[in-house]
Each structure stands twice: as C-alpha cells, then as structure tokens.
Subunit: 364 residues, 2 copies
DNA sequence: TTGTACGCGTTATCAT
DNA sequence: ATGATAACGCGTACAA
C-alpha cells in the first residue's frame, strides 16, 4: 500500500546471494567491459539481470570512501548567489551540463561569514574529496587566487579577460564577436559605426582592449568609426546593475542633446550590455526609435532578452566557458600529469554575435 | 617546497595514536558536549588540541556511509539552468544560505535527456542518500508531482500560487505586497490607480486573483481604479522573456494611442514585471516620462534592477521562499513524524513592496 | 572514565 | 573464471 516503509537499499551482497556468486565477482561484473571481460557469458548475464531486477544502485559514499574520489566538482562563487546569479547563472548552466555529462555532480560554494569560497573549497576538498574546483575569477583579487596555485586540487579559473596567474584559465576572446558585429552592421548598410564605451584609459577591459578591436575591424572594412564615452562609475560605487544602466542612459542623453538630430548615430556598438540598456532608454526619450533610427549592439547575453526590442549582442558564451572549464578540471583530476602540462594554459572561447531585433538597415 | 604531494588526510586514528587514547574516545570527544561530557577535562583538552594541531576534518563519506545521512539537499529544477536562472537564481540564493546555515550542502539537479529532475532526485536519494528534495513547482505538471507524494524522501514544494498536492508547500501570498503598493501610491497622492494585467478570465494566477486583491485594496482606500488588459500570450508560445515584454509593450501602446494624453494613467500596477518592462518602452515611445508622467509598480523582483529607472515592485520574496522550504525539508528529514504532520501544509510567505525610483507624486 | 569490536557498502589484492 | 579477505574512516553498542 504505502511505499513509505524504508525499504533497505539493495547491495552487492544481495545480488551475490541471489545469484550464488561472490560479492567480488558481482562487483567486477557490474563495473563493465574492462573488468567484466574475464567472466563467463552466462554469469555476466545473470548478474546483470539480477541487478536490474532488484534495482541495484551502487552506494555513492561507500564507493567514494574506497576510491577517494567523489565525482563532484565544486564551484566557488566570489559573492552571494543572489547578487551574482544574473551573469553567473549562464556559466553555471554550462558547468552543470558538462559535469553531468561526465558523471559528476555540482557543489555550489558561496562565501560564509568568516571565510571566502576558496577557503571553503579547499575545506571541501579535504573532507569531501571534491575532485576539482572551478573558480570564476571575476570578483577575486589576484592575491587570493594566487594562494590556490599550489594546493593539492585541480583548479580551473574562468574569466572574461587575462589575469595574472599560473592556474589554467578559460577566458573569452572578444575579437570574433566584435568583428562579426561590425560586419553585420556593414552588411545592413551602416557606414558610420559608433562605439559606446568608457573613456579611454579608464578601463582596460571593457574599454581600451575592446575598442581597439572595434576600431581595427571598422577600419579594415573601410567604414567610418566614431565614439561616445561614458565615465567610469565612481570608485567604490556599489556594483549594482542599476547604476550601470543609469550611467549609460545619462551619457547617451548628454550626447544626443549635443548633436543635431540628423547627426545622431545610426548604429551603436556598446562595450557593455548594461550601458546599452541605458542607451535604449535615452534614445527613446529623445524621440528616436530602436532599431528604426538607431541600431544597437550590446555586449554580453544576459539582459539582452528582456530589452525591448530584444538586443543583438556579442555574447560572451558563458555556458561554453563553464563547459570547457569543467572539461579541463575533470581531466586534470583524472590525470595528474595534466596538472603540470596545463600550468599557465589559456583556453580562449571565441565570443559570438547573436543577432536579434535591435539591428536593421539604416533609414534611406 | 611544493605542497603538491598528496599529504594523507588525518584521521581519528592519527589523533588517537598521538594522544594515546582510543579511536572511540577521540571520536566521542570530538562530537562535543552531548557525548564528550563523560570524559576527563584533561583528555578532552588534549584531544581537541591535537585535532586542531593536525587539522583534523571528519571524512564526509565515511560518516555518511555510517549514518545513512548525507547532509545534502537536492534541488530539482524543471528546466535547464540557463533558461530558468533568471527567476530561479533568487530562490536558489535563499536555498543555499539556509542549507549552509544548517550544515548542509546543495545538489543541483536538472533534467537529462531521458529523465526529468524528479526522477533524478529520487535516484540521488537512493545512491547518495540525499536527505531531502526541494521542488520548485513552476513548470512541473501536477501529474508528475503527484508521483512524489509517496516516496521515501522529504519533499517540499515551492510555488507562487496554490497547486493541488498533498506535499508541504511554500508559496507566495500576493496580498500584503499589493496592499502596500496601493497604499504607497495613495500616499504619494495618486487618486486613480490603473491595473495592468491579463484579460479577466484568461489567467487565474497572474490575472484574476491578483486583480481582485488590487481592486479591494483600492476600494478600501476610497480611490478610483481602472484597468488596461493585455491578451495572454498565444498558447504554446515559447516561454521567452522577450515575448512577455513585447506583449506588454504592444498592449500599452494600443491603450495610450486610444486615450487623450491628459487621460493617460498617472500610475500603473502591473501583474508581472516583464509586462511592466514592455510598458516602460511604450510609455517612453509615447513621449511620456517615467516616473514623472506615469509611476509604475511591477510584480516580481528579478529585472526590476535593470529597468531604467529601477522599478518599484511587489517582490515575491523568492529567497525567503527558498529559505523556508529548506528549513522545512531538513526538519522533516530529521524528524519523520513531521512528514506526517506537514501533509497538505501551506506556508505562506508574504509578498512585500520594494520602493525604488519608478514611483513619485503625480504632476499637479 | 575509557576501550573493544563490529558494521556501513564498495573496491582492490591476491589466491585458487 | 571466481572467491576470500582486507582495507577505506567513522559511529556505536557493549564491556571493562
């Protein structure tokens, strides 16, 4: 009637008894081809069928206790889930999928009162035999990450830009996506492309490096490029999404107020999706339409879907970054030699243009 | 030099040897007050200090193997992380925090090719001894959830509205937040409040039930209420955030086109944040300002921070829903009697108004 | 106040 | 081709 009665889990022993084989034999047979080859056809079949019939599942803890591996990958988030999930979730998706694919499960680690996630990660490595740790190197200091360089654990970093560390790192390559964006706008017929990014020299990552790629792409296609800049957020400002959006809005409002309407950009390439959202607002407020009057390309692929119209973006490919990181991390855990080989390794994930509804032909 | 050499983990036995006590004694002493009371002051001190000095950490798998508990709570997501994280992340934050607080860790479960998350959850219960399962009852059919009602595992559901099941459920109560929203607008001086929701009769949850609360709150304050409706999305439409936003925009555009400008709403209470974002767009396109001309209150607290200006919302309090669910689930796992007691239980989490920048006094 | 001895379910080694 | 047996590290009932 009720299934609630705690039915004891079925063990190797149960199968052994029912089939008249020994525990060891059953164990080996159920491990499959490498080890099961030495046994008689009949025995293999009998054991497997019995395991099936009884619904046998190996006990995870017993196995881990014995092997010292836990088939678990840890993910050390620098901040709380709530405040980071907006961009972190995408990467987490990739991480989870790949982990599952390789038969591993995921342990989410976030900072506690007195300890950061890296410390907790190491803790877990010791008491739970976590096999490897993925560290999204966004909000960590290089200092604190450096302490992970010599621990007895497979650590792989994920970032959006180069950071100083000998740990293997998976990071985004902004070039392909930006080049595609420029090409896309050119194909649509735009002749003057406007870069919307931080004042040069104020932000190496979001600014200078990406703008350089943009400029060279524009030049190589023989197009005109110009730029609108926003000032970096005041130092120490809370890293609130809303602040970024607001910053983008103000900069764009100011720019649009300063030029005659027929001189407004026909298309924008933004260094950051959040600023792009602010620009959306500013553009509408000035009586211009998106994409009719101004086409917009953002950078990232987080909020793009809620933009109205949904935004064409250069995607960071966060899921792919996460996926690759897990692949590397597990490989390292399985093969210690790799740990040495991958020292200082950089794995670049090409960014990619995702075309949506914010980009069209310019008005004639 | 290199710390890389796999230093064998320290075990109870190591402490036992170093202190000259038996393993059992060390074990009991390290468990603390309940069991350690019977031992001599001196012994306790010696053992504890030694454990400290050697950096002892109990082996998680050995412990779980012995106790049959894994100190792990599973979370069974109905869809992929990437596609759900936008609203699910908030709840996940609450889940993680509470789990950690109670010494548990989190196992994220998402659907696989041939099995949904609930099946995988049960699988984990069997082979990994996960103690309990949190099921965000959003995209699951009542059918498939019903199959969880008689399994030997602590299951707690989380939803935003009542669903038919005997499983204990944590859900949102929309009333408090909506009442606060109405009061807030009234306090600001608004006299006519406009509801922006789905056509009556087309959506029990987002529509009728919330609108009823709104209407009664408006009436009880002696204010005027009216409404603008959007049609439900066509059945089978992809549950894309962008579609919702677009739907909101079109409905609001249509409404604004149909009324003289001085009859436009001075404030909006939206049944859904995504539609509210669409309304944002429509309002700007019509040359009106937010919040100057139109104050807007959304529902949810997911995208509100990226709205420009950031949106005042009735928050679902998703982190709190997650937190409470974990609290209940772990309690049930610890005390089987609770499983019976909480049959059919409903735990309501009051929604709450979060005031931001999209609501101000109406123009004089 | 402390110790002995066994069991948890699996894997690995070494026999046969 | 198969089986005994000893780990893995911890918890606990029972003895001393």
């Amino acid at each position: 009637m009720t299934r609630k009665r705690a039915t004891k889990a079925v063990r190797l022993k149960d199968i052994a008894v029912k089939t008249g084989m020994s525990i060891a034999t059953v164990c080996k047979i159920l491990k499959g081809p490498p080890t099961s080859d030495l046994f008689a056809e009949g025995s293999v079949k009998r054991v497997k069928q019995m395991a099936d019939r009884l619904g046998y599942r190996p006990n995870y803890h017993a196995r881990s206790l014995q092997t010292g591996k836990s088939m678990t990958v840890g993910v050390a988030m620098a901040g709380s889930i709530e405040s980071n999930i907006w961009f972190f979730g995408q990467m987490l998706g990739g991480i989870q999928n790949q982990a599952r694919l390789l038969g591993h499960s995921l342990l989410l680690i976030s900072p506690e009162k007195d300890r950061d996630s890296l410390a907790t990660g190491l803790e877990y490595a010791r008491c739970r035999q976590i096999d490897c740790l993925i560290v999204p190197h966004f909000a960590y200091s290089e200092e604190s990450v450096r302490q992970m360089e010599n621990v007895n654990l497979s650590v792989v970093l994920t970032t959006l830009y180069e950071r100083k560390t000998s740990l293997p790192t998976v990071l985004m390559d902004p070039k392909p996506g930006i080049a595609q964006a420029v090409q896309h706008l050119a194909d649509l017929g735009h002749r003057r492309l406007t870069w919307f990014g931080p004042v040069p020299g104020t932000d190496q990552i979001l600014g200078d490096s990406r703008e350089a790629v943009f400029s060279s792409a524009v030049k190589s296609l023989g197009l005109k490029g110009d730029s609108v800049y926003f000032s970096k957020l005041p130092a120490g400002a809370p890293d609130e999404v809303g602040e970024w959006v607001q910053g983008g809005r103000e900069a764009m409002l100011k720019h649009l107020a300063g030029v005659p309407k027929d001189q407004a950009p026909t298309c924008l390439v933004c260094s950051d999706e959040r600023h792009a959202l602010g620009a959306y607002s500013a553009i509408l407020e000035c009586g211009l339409k998106i994409p009719g009057d101004v086409s917009v390309v953002g950078f990232d692929n987080i909020f793009a879907p809620v933009a109205c119209p949904t935004m064409t973006v250069v995607s960071h490919m966060l899921p792919e970054i996460g996926r690759k990181a897990v692949e590397m991390a597990i490989a390292m855990a399985d093969d210690p030699a790799l740990v040495v080989k991958l020292r200082g390794h950089r794995e670049y994930i090409p960014s990619q243009l995702i075309v949506s509804k914010s980009t069209v032909r310019p008005r004639a």
